[in-house]
Subunit: 381 residues, 2 copies
């Protein structure tokens, strides 16, 4: 994330997590520009930091982002919102900035207040440790059940896009996803950043549906420092942002809670892109299919029964399904021999042909495993 | 099911299941009346027996029902439909009836043809074993992953409603569910049966959502023999049908694949019944909540985040949630102490108050367990 010029970052152990690990990150845009864009969860139950940061982003300027793991600050009422406000004020004080241009993001358990007596000193400590090499520590500090930290970089012509992400469960973004901070040293204004970010998240994070559960805290921010003085072409810049988003989205899928398989569901032959996404998401959320993939069982009937619950345009007698390249279902009935399907590897590719048009979309999900159940039956205890 | 006068039934081992267990059931209405109504899956990918029986039911008359486990005959193309037709013809021959008034239902794996060389002789064998005491054997013959067979009886004033059901997985009915045959000796015509059946299934089977996966084969039939010569009041009769449906629906939930908890989700204070069902179903399908309940963890934040994905009428700051009677969330934030919640028993009651009106609905689901994953990752192999 600090690969882009003009950014410093830090990650500290403020004591929010019982484990004593890094749990508070600070990212600062040193300019000269401080343009920013953000997309947030479409869940109507929004965490306090989402409500705060949505307001901050309306101004199109962000000087710094404070992120914490160890608590989502969601469903915490007016007191929780005051906690977020106090966090921004503490950062403003330490950075000699304005709280109104400081975004806040939180992740962890829903429904508990944050330990502000530890969080606020942590903000001051992080401000004292800011470094142009602090990106990795910041990425580590936002982990919850993530087993690895996630960063990505795209080098453009004289400009750079960097980013970090966290997310392993409650992973089915609506408009955005999890906590992601992207930085660039390109010299672009907020409206360009906003268009590039929305176009990029639409086909990357928004098409990850690991467990069908949309978070209350999903946040993706894109900050531009202008420090490279490069003004890239918008299409080229958007492609750079998209590449970093796609890379981070893949890292999220690969680290999903308890998963043993990454499932790429490509819907082709759809009457519209919306239909392709609808059918793909229905397949991605089908627990029986996810169990079958876990058992390396090419149970294509579960793909058809999932598609059958949608109102996408298709004729049941024309549906085709391939698993890892073998067309096990043709024209809605038995196709090639299912014993030809090799599902030993982590990535499993399912192609569903709706035979109704020429649009397509790819949705990523994971298998459903006993480890997922175990991890999520004990998480808050 | 044979508790209602005028009905005979049989269950035989035709050799469709590899296990050698009972796998073919026959239910015959000896009259004098043979009125019938049916509701079927709203999945657009429909099994051959569903397509066949929908046509049969249009006439409002059913003389017999052939049901098999060991294969769903879904996604089997025109050949699969011919197999269903041949099954009805075989029953017509054995019973000296018309194939056009014989309904067929199948359950088991999607995407494989039925072994007709064994199924058709089984139909003849079952016809030879019909008995007014054959209801239990028929109920056993339609089991798949069910651990117990399921029957229920309601005694009215001079009339009776009986029924049998199977279903343990792919349990999220759209318009109907699983395989259910209801019988009555009441002397009622098809339109009355149809109204009573739709009203009954709407608030019973349709509100079970064990695993979010809608079947291709869901079928509920109600057959009336008129043998009691009683003509019950329609409201009273409907209540009797509803009682049998509710009883069978509860048996399905209690026997759901791998489940260790039955979760009763009651949404109250909704602006409409539709909103209550929408919010309840979203909670029922939230894998993270289902894992939490499995772990006996009163993780109410997952209830709120599930409700937040719907467009039901509510204000996030007014939502209240109780788990087993303890209001752990009040006004969208922390309520009573979550340590007061006792979740040791199989039934767990979640009440979500949308604080937006006076409508309510109850949805039943199950927890998500490692046993569910295990059972469904190996089912077709």
């Amino acid at each position: 994330m600090t690969a882009a010029k003009g950014f410093t970052a830090a990650g500290v152990a403020a004591g929010i997590k019982d484990s004593g690990g890094l749990d508070l990150a600070l990212v600062v845009n040193a300019g000269p520009r401080r343009a920013a864009a953000g997309v947030f969860t479409s869940n109507r139950v929004k965490a306090a930091p989402v409500l705060w940061s949505e307001q901050v982003l309306k101004g199109g300027q962000v000087g710094a982002v404070v992120l914490n793991s160890g608590g989502a600050n969601a469903c915490t009422g007016p007191e929780g919102f005051q906690d977020t406000h106090a966090t921004a004020e503490a950062a403003a004080l330490a950075l000699e900035d304005s709280a109104g241009e400081i975004a806040v993001a939180s992740t962890g358990l829903i429904g508990t207040r944050l330990p502000m007596d530890r969080l606020l000193p942590g903000v001051a400590e992080a401000a004292g440790q800011l470094s142009p090499h602090g990106g990795e520590k910041a990425a580590i500090a936002i982990k919850t059940t993530d087993t690895v930290h996630k960063t990505a970089v795209h080098e453009g012509d004289g400009w750079t896009v960097g980013g970090m992400a966290k997310g392993a469960g409650m992973l089915a973004p609506g408009l955005a996803t999890m906590l992601v901070v992207l930085t660039t040293d390109a010299d672009l204004e907020a409206p360009v950043l906003d268009r590039a970010l929305r176009e990029s998240t639409r086909t990357t994070f928004d098409r990850v549906d690991s467990d069908g559960c949309m978070s209350t805290n999903d946040t993706v921010l894109l900050l531009a420092s202008g420090a490279s003085q490069a003004v890239p072409d918008e299409a080229e810049f958007t492609e750079g942002v998209r590449a970093v988003c796609a890379d981070l989205a893949q890292q999220l899928v690969r680290d999903a809670e308890g998963a043993s398989k990454d499932i790429r569901i490509e819907v082709v032959g759809a009457a519209s892109e919306e239909d392709a996404v609808l059918a793909g998401r229905s397949v991605a959320r089908n627990n029986l299919l996810k169990c079958a993939v876990h058992g390396e069982d090419p149970n294509w009937g579960r793909v058809l029964s999932a598609i059958g619950t949608t109102d996408a345009v298709f004729d049941p007698d024309r549906l085709n399904v391939a698993i890892n390249g073998v067309w096990v279902c043709k024209n809605g009935a038995v196709g090639e021999d299912r014993d030809k399907v090799d599902m030993r590897y982590r990535e499993v590719a399912i192609t569903a042909d709706l035979a109704a048009g020429s649009s397509s979309a790819v949705i990523w999900t994971n298998d459903l495993t006993a480890d997922y159940v175990h991890e999520n039956s004990a998480y808050s205890s």
